[in-house]
């Protein structure tokens, strides 16, 4: 009901009320600060100038464009939101932190619809929490692939990790793949074997559940593959294209290093998707993250200023500006129309990214701490003496993911579903306060559920951690094999737990 009302409200807003603001109401001059990557500072200045001259709303921006690295923007915003840029670009991995830090203003209904329609759906999903967009997609090229030196690695070897390692060792050249300091790169091995770390947030951006299968038989296979690489004396934990001039034969990095590598290797540069590794006779193609860069609007106090800033953000991330950025800096667009253009399709760097794309995983929403927790797997795997050591590395990782949530085993949950368990969308979780829960059941047989231990299902903070199975604290007998509590009649129920007994009283 609540959801329905919310949707209705949104619909009403979208179709009837929005846009009351006429052009003259936004007209004016605004002093703003914009944070973008160093290489597009001049371009962005020009784009804002163009906007000032062409917009029909009478808006003039007096913009200070500062070079702030997309990797730093998040950290800086969190130090002090007020001092941050009114518009700022950041890499996707910082999105969750920024939402939680209150550093991103939500998009209005109209802007949200326009942006969602114009951009690649996976990128839109990356900027969405609940049903709301929090940022404007800027690029969709934040992925990695393999650059190699053709004089060291013969073309027939580029598909095999083992062959490449052997070639590097024979030539005393380095295989550069950032395994020890970056979760973003090392996830490659886990994605190869089908592991996932999928996080979900509620409407406020709080993480409510994670499906993480890094610690699994598949994860162990991934660790074995990673072991081959990190234990090679010619493995280098770096993702800088410049390593080619410091004795590297292979570097795994992204499109941003294209010019650098080209400058060093010239015609000897090879670009391709990541190789496969082999464990116990099975071959696994290395995966990758495909992420994006986003542009955020700092939360504003004044609605007029906020609306004007959103107008500019929409323009700067729109089709025209993305095309310009692609033309001048080869930034891979997120805008569907620009993506489809011939020039983009023909770009060699983007082509390599495209080759890797069948094996890539959209980055989605990931808990800000995951990056710190996962990045030590590389060191742990390197230090592992045997298979048990590899398993310990994964156990350690899993412990830390669990430790993100403070478990309160004294609280119990009632997990219920409307119209049966198969309909996962309609799952609801209720917390038992002092072992008691009062519940409204609107229809007979409408809701069934089970009482579970939060250690296996959820926590008092609202985080849910999906593990194998859900432990039931009471067996409801043979005639109810699923151990579901089913409410036969509509009405208001009080459920109390007394030791192992569950008492259900209809009020």
């Amino acid at each position: 009901m609540k959801k329905f009302l919310a949707m209705l409200l949104a619909a009403i807003m979208a179709f009837s009320m929005v846009g009351f603001a006429s052009a003259s109401e936004l007209a004016g001059t605004y002093d703003i600060t914009v944070w973008v990557a160093a290489e597009i500072v001049d371009l962005t200045k020009a784009q804002i100038e163009t906007y000032n001259q062409t917009n029909e709303l009478g808006i003039t921006f007096n913009a200070t464009v500062e070079a702030v690295s997309e990797a730093d923007a998040g950290t800086n915003m969190i130090v002090d939101v007020e001092a941050g840029g009114d518009l700022y670009c950041f890499a996707q991995d910082q999105f969750a932190r920024l939402v939680q830090a209150g550093a991103l203003a939500k998009l209005g209904v109209k802007a949200g619809e326009t942006v969602a329609a114009a951009n690649d759906p996976s990128v839109v999903a990356a900027a969405t929490v609940g049903d709301t967009l929090y940022a404007y997609p800027l690029t969709a090229d934040n992925g990695y692939f393999m650059y190699y030196d053709k004089t060291v690695i013969p073309e027939e070897h580029v598909d095999s990790l083992e062959a490449i390692i052997a070639d590097c060792e024979a030539a005393q050249k380095y295989f550069s793949f950032e395994m020890q300091t970056s979760a973003w790169y090392l996830a490659s091995f886990f994605f190869a074997t089908g592991c996932e770390s999928t996080w979900e947030t509620d409407a406020e951006g709080q993480f409510v559940s994670v499906k993480d299968t890094f610690n699994s038989p598949e994860g162990l296979i991934a660790a074995k593959g990673m072991e081959k690489l990190v234990k090679s004396p010619f493995h280098l934990s770096s993702s800088s294209g410049a390593e080619f001039s410091s004795n590297a034969a292979v570097v795994v990095t992204g499109i941003w290093d294209f010019e650098t590598v080209k400058g060093i290797l010239g015609d000897n540069m090879g670009v391709t998707d990541l190789p496969s590794f082999e464990v116990d006779g099975t071959s696994y193609h290395l995966g990758s993250f495909s992420g994006c860069k986003l542009m955020g609007v700092k939360p504003q106090v004044d609605p007029v200023r906020a609306a004007a800033l959103h107008q500019l953000a929409q323009y700067l991330t729109g089709e025209q500006c993305q095309t310009e950025r692609f033309n001048e800096r080869s930034w891979g667009p997120s805008n569907s129309a620009v993506q489809a253009s011939e020039a983009v399709q023909a770009n060699p760097g983007l082509a390599a990214l495209l080759m890797q794309s069948p094996y890539s995983v959209p980055q989605g929403q990931i808990h800000g701490s995951w990056w710190d927790i996962a990045k030590v797997i590389g060191d742990d795997v390197k230090a592992a003496a045997d298979e048990a050591g590899l398993q310990t590395a994964l156990d350690n990782y899993y412990d830390k993911i669990s430790a993100l949530f403070t478990l309160d085993t004294s609280a119990l949950l009632f997990v219920g579903a409307w119209n049966g368990w198969n309909n996962a969308d309609q799952e609801e979780t209720y917390y038992l306060k002092n072992n008691t829960l009062t519940l409204d059941v609107p229809e007979s047989d409408y809701m069934g559920g089970r009482i579970v231990n939060p250690g296996d299902w959820g926590t008092d903070k609202g985080f849910a951690q999906v593990t194998v199975g859900k432990e039931l604290i009471k067996d409801l007998g043979a005639d109810n094999p699923d151990n579901n509590i089913v409410f036969a009649e509509a009405g208001n129920y009080t459920i109390t737990i007394n030791g192992a007994d569950i008492n259900i009283i209809k009020n």
């Binding site: 944070w35 500062e66 702030v68 690295s69 990797a71 410049a242 001039s245």
Partner: protein
Amino acid sequence: MSEMQNSRRHMGLKASRTLANTAIYAFLIAISIIWLIPFVCIFLQSFRVESTHQVGYVIPQQWGFDNYINLFQTDFPRWYMNTFIAALVTAVFQTIIVLCMSYTLSRFRFKMRKPLMRLMLILGMFPGMLTMIILYRVLKDLGMTQANSVPGLILVYVASSGMGYYVSKGFFDTIPKSLDEAARVDGATRFQVLKKIILPLSKPIVIYTILTAFMAPWGDFVFARYIAFGASAGKNVAVGLYDWLNKDQISKCYTMFCAGGVLVAIPVTVLFMCLQKYYVEGVTGGAVKG
């Protein structure tokens, strides 16, 4: 017989001394090379024009001043001026404050003296890094962050400099007290004693203090970075150069970073070379006696 022995011993002594000196020369040459290698490398890198990223060799394939020329197309001159101003103003005020503090604690005997020194000793044991966050907020309330961070930096450097009084107090302690007393008997006020008697004798420590105060701001990339973020105009040279090492910039700015490094090193090194004598006198006069 004994004469012969003597002269043989003498010769042996001379030979062993020559041997020892040769060994020492070899040692000094070796460490000089080790000490200079990084600087020579940085210096050479700054003249490399064939590429702008880090490379695995030392000697450039193509030489030129491109990096230095490019440096002046960026905000580098601005950062350089910021740092220079900060260093200069800090040097002046910090010297005044340190001298006030150390002179007082060395020469005056008042009730709160010992507790004050103890308090400052205790305060000095707290890691200063911890207070970055709050100093940022205080400066922000004063409007001295981001683009205006130069006065903020100066304020923080100068304000807390009173804590570093040990070395110069140690120096003042070595100036005989009888000098003051004689002048006091002649009717000089305390201020006149300071001006006419103590200061003229304190040239080494004054120069030492100026020198250390002037040098510190050139290398501050932690605190300055914390308060100047997001505003190129407020960066000092250390922050500006340090930010070029960011992943998205390093491959385009590395040689420029080296060139910038050379330009930063030159004035400080020259100054240091010229005033080295006083530095040594100051530090040996003060450092070990506090």
